[in-house]
């Protein structure tokens, strides 16, 4: 795993507050290789967005982060705001958010945002260079160059998401995070944008972390799928393996909750019974035990260890049959 572009080890993120502390990410370890498209899946509140935001250092100041996050060899945990701005944000890692309309200032033109971002990282850029850069990016996402003169509310959701993608590529960063980037769009636009992303990913050999609550959408586009449940990474493996032979009961439940074309007519879509554990208390059991149909005694006694069911495919469950070392 030494060729990892981003290597996260034992990451813990605790949201502060004097009255209540909530653990949003609990002992997460994850490595992403150059050129890989990794899907991070989980329901809302599972901690996936927190994990993504922590990479760019955009969590509230009261948040406590421990553990390690190395990007290209640089440790990100503990970097100051100024250092993150200089070393990480946008030149190395960029992000595309879900709601593009809210993600842009309503009283500024698109190009005002872009110019400010460009200038923030490279004050020496000339106006002509900036114009060229913006025009090139607009062509890249297949929008007319003059689109940048618009205000956000004048554009459609699909156009705005293209703009956001173009913005994320302002400095050709090797690593792009897509945080539910297509969730708010209608199905057709969603498909177009995903195709666009795939094309750009191949063209620039981008490394992509694609966050979604929709495991089906991720399955089509990612090489690898990482599943989060209640602050923990419960499964991590090649996309095909995770879909066809999930190792964690939560992933199984998640997949069986998907509507299938080949399902018998009249069958009901299964939902997962039970509720989330209280994340403001320390855990000494499996997080999924309260909802797990296969839970046994040991599940209630300790947090299970991460076990590999096959090379490169792990699950955080005592029931995972460890692959024999060969």
């Amino acid at each position: 795993m030494s060729d990892a572009l981003l290597e996260i080890e034992h990451l813990n993120i605790v949201y502060g507050g004097s009255q209540r502390q909530v653990t949003a990410v609990n002992d997460a370890s994850l490595a992403i290789r150059r050129g890989e498209v990794v899907g991070l899946v989980g329901e809302s509140g599972s901690g996936k967005s927190t994990l993504a935001n922590s990479i760019l250092g955009i969590l509230p100041r009261t948040t406590a982060i421990t553990g390690s996050m190395r990007f290209n060899g640089t440790e990100l945990v503990g970097l100051s705001e100024a250092e993150i701005n200089k070393q990480v944000r946008w030149r190395e890692i960029s992000i595309v958010f879900q709601k593009a309309l809210a993600a842009l200032s309503p009283v500024h033109r698109i190009d005002e945002h872009m110019i400010d971002i460009l200038r923030a990282h490279d004050p020496s850029l000339s106006n002509a260079q900036i114009r060229d850069r913006m025009a090139k990016l607009m062509t890249l996402v297949r929008l007319p160059p003059e689109t940048v003169r618009s205000y956000p509310h004048q554009l459609s959701g699909g156009m705005l998401q293209r703009i956001m993608i173009a913005m994320s590529l302002l400095f050709d960063p090797p690593f792009v995070i897509l945080d539910e980037a297509t969730t708010a769009l209608d199905v057709l636009t969603q498909r177009q944008i995903l195709n666009e992303i795939r094309r750009l990913q191949r063209e620039f050999n981008l490394t992509v972390l694609m966050i979604s609550h929709d495991i089906a959408a991720v399955a089509e586009n990612a090489n690898r799928i990482v599943v989060m449940y209640a602050s923990q990474i419960v499964e991590d493996g090649p996309a095909d393996a995770v879909i066809n032979a999930p190792s964690h009961p939560y992933t199984k439940a998640l997949l069986s909750a998907l509507p299938r074309l080949d399902a018998p007519a009249g069958g009901r879509i299964k939902s997962i019974p039970g509720s989330l554990p209280d994340l403001s208390r320390p855990l000494n059991q499996c997080v999924f035990a309260p909802r797990c149909s296969a839970a046994i005694d040991v599940c209630w006694k300790a947090v299970p260890e991460v076990r590999a069911s096959a090379p490169g495919h792990t699950g955080k469950c005592v029931l995972v049959n460890e692959a024999q070392p060969q």
């Binding site: 809210a102 993600a103 009283v107 500024h108 923030a120 205000y151």
Partner: protein, 319 residues
């Protein structure tokens, strides 16, 4: 943009007539007519009384009086005072500059001060707490009482400013000396209004800055590597300004009536003083005239606010 404005004006016209109608009836249906007020303790003969009523059209039914009033109004004529016989337009006109000078200067200062304070305290918790406390106290003060306190402190005790009036009547200043003298008299009433209005701007701006900082686009800009200072100055502030601008515009609408109590405390020769005198003497034409000017100024202020708003907020401009 133009269509938007025309539509706004269109909706205001019926409102304007309703305003006139309600106020006209309210004032005229009240017991006590100006003729008996005017005569005071003198007992008028029935004939003399009748003559006076006829002279001012008061013998007609109220609806007829209203139609007549509208007719004269359409000619730009606000009628004549029942007491002095002077043109109402002149009476209000000569009072307007003093009132406008007082209210506009104080509104601008309060707007600037309140917003500045909000920006300064936005990121300093302790200062913020102190400013909030002070703003609550100032916000709760009756303007006239604050005026009296300022007179006690700055005029009678410290002798820095004159207690009341518009100019020093004992001197015959001209030119620059005259202007300075007026400013000297303006200081305390203006300060009173600023102190009372500033907390409103402060609170609105502070809440608005707080709201804007929670917006998603702030996170986007932060993620993209813009410095916090630049985000605040370039993006947060412009977005946060919108509610303050509205408040400022609306407060200008009340510029004519809002300072009445302060004008009375400081014997400032403005519209407020005129209003009170006309109320006490039931001088209908003057009251109606003042009311008309107030209603129009409120509507103009709303319209101007809309225009300024459209300049700042493209979402409205491109509707």
């Amino acid at each position: 943009m133009l269509r938007y404005l025309l539509r706004q004006i269109g909706t205001m016209i019926p409102t304007f007539f309703l305003v006139m109608l309600i106020s006209f009836f309210l004032i005229h249906l009240a017991p006590g007519d100006p003729v008996s007020r005017y005569s005071g303790n003198f007992v008028l003969t029935a004939d003399a009384r009748q003559a006076l009523l006829e002279k001012y059209g008061l013998d007609q039914p109220v609806p007829v009086q209203f139609v007549r009033y509208l007719a004269t109004l359409a000619q730009g004529d606000l009628g004549k005072s029942m007491l002095s016989g002077r043109e109402v337009t002149d009476m209000i006109g000569e009072r307007l500059p003093a009132t406008l000078m007082l209210t506009i200067s104080s509104s601008i200062l309060a707007f600037l001060g309140g917003n500045l304070l909000a920006v300064i305290t936005a990121r300093r918790r302790k200062l913020d707490l102190g400013a909030s406390l002070v703003s609550y106290v100032l916000y709760s003060m009756p303007t006239f009482w604050l005026g009296i306190i300022l007179i006690i402190v700055f005029a009678t005790k410290l002798n820095w400013f004159p207690t009341s009036g518009y100019v020093n009547s004992r001197e015959q200043y001209t030119g620059l000396r005259y202007a300075l003298d007026v400013l000297d008299h303006l200081a305390l009433p203006c300060l009173t209004l600023v102190l009372v209005e500033l907390p409103g701007y402060y609170r609105v701006a502070r809440a608005s800055i707080g709201d804007v900082r929670q917006e998603d686009f702030i996170t986007t800009l932060r993620a993209s590597g813009l410095s916090q200072g630049k985000i605040f100055r370039r993006y947060a502030l412009k977005n946060a300004l919108l509610p303050s601008v509205t408040l400022f515009g609306l407060s200008l609408g009340y510029a004519l009536s809002g300072a009445a109590l302060v004008e009375i405390v400081f014997a400032w020769p403005g519209v407020g003083r005129l209003t009170l005198d006309s109320v006490l003497k039931r001088d209908y034409p003057v009251l109606m005239g003042i009311y008309l000017v107030i209603a129009v100024s409120v509507m103009v202020a709303i319209l101007l606010t809309d225009i300024v708003y459209a300049f700042i907020d493209p979402r409205i401009r491109y509707q």
